[in-house]
Amino acid sequence: MALDTGTTAWLLAATALVMLMTPGVGFFYGGLVRRKNFISMVALAFIAFALVSIQWVLIGYSLAFGQDIGGFIGNLQYIGLQGVGMDPGEGTYPPLLFMAFQLVFAAIAMAIVTSGMAERVRLSAFVVFTLLWTTLVYDPLAHWALGGGWAMQLGGLDFAGGTVVHISSGFAALAVALVIGKRTGFGEYSLEPHNIPMTLLGAALLWFGWFGFNAGSALAANGIAANAFVVTNTSAAAGALAWLCASWLSGKPSSLGMVTGAIAGLVAITPAAGYVTPLASIVIGAMAGYICYRAMLFRINRKLDESLDAWAVHGVGGLWGAIATGIFAIAAVSGYSGLIEGNVNQFLANVAGALAALIYAFVVSYVLALVVDRTIGLRVSEEEEYVGLDISQHGERA
């Protein structure tokens, strides 16, 4: 096949759209922390982006998309992007562009994990943890689900990386939070968000970038991309309204709740975007808003300081998305049937893929966090935490 200019142009744009999501996560989280940690939160997202950008070029892409070894990991054939060129070969776009498109996914996954260490992580430990996590957690998971590994061979449907990006980062954030411990004062006095409009702006960047994330994952400028685009927006809207109503029933309709619900809807539609209809996406998004809201309340009641709710929104929302894909996939959209059309196997393959990713991500992240904690120390000193990470880690003030 020859290079398709339409597809190539769309993938270039989609890659840039997804890139914006990583700082978007930074601003979303940055508004939720206290002012003394605002720069830190945004900086962690940028640092994650930069580190993963280099790691992916050197080794990550090869581990995820190289020749399959035992269904678990790719080989080193693409190390340093050797053999990843401009010539489309069998495809319709340059492999080099596909590499860049996958890079921005790897980066945002890492940025989401920062939720579990917010306001207390030591920067040097974060750098080490990032390199370990993206290599030993993200790259194998990307290989399983997207790069020809066992989950893909089993036939699990994951359109745009719901298990790889969202389940993995959500459960990793929980694991890190358990290792690093609660923030000083958590549960004693209120640790209020310092700038909700900043979080709303971050959510806007995420919602916008998500069109590249999901519609770009069609890897073509075609009808499936259009379907992904429409269901993405619909699910986000349904999630926003569901959470808004849930918070309205128990008090005031919170704007923060609304955008969190929108993110939950976006997370849940991610694995499903190329397989379900717009009407199904209303159900998926609304359920995501409600389920993630309950998950957040559960987290708070259990006094877990997974500080910015990556677990509730990305972890639990991603899990619901994987299950929902197995339920609502319809042959009329792109030839795959889910439970709704009587295909139990599809449903089971999806649940298996999601659970395996969940367990792998949680366990390995926990071990990695523990190793970094015992060697370098994941957490800043009490004084550094008190004055805030902006000054203690960056020497700057917001």
Binding site: E383, V387, S392, Q393
Partner: protein, 114 residues
Amino acid sequence: MKMIKAIIRPEKIDFVKRALEEHGFFGMTTYEVMGRGEQKGIPLTYRGKTILVDLLPKVSVEVVVPDSDTDAMVNVIATTARTGKIGDGRIFIIPVDESVRVRTHEVDPTMKQQ
């Protein structure tokens, strides 16, 4: 009549507010301030480089009470805002001549008792 001006840790303001309420003190003015005491802030050693954080965020709480309530009020604030570590803050007690209610222009009767 006295003004109690307490400069305390920001994370203690909710506790102080609640404790004052329990003792029947409701009115107050608070604002966020930056300040330092005799230690001139907190020195942090980071990678061999010393950063002196010389102004730390605090909350200033101002309450005006009749003379007879002054000791009780100071006592409540000093106990609730205390952690025992350096940086707990200060309480200043300042004489106040008069208190006028803006809405009615009357000299505040609740403050009259001496």
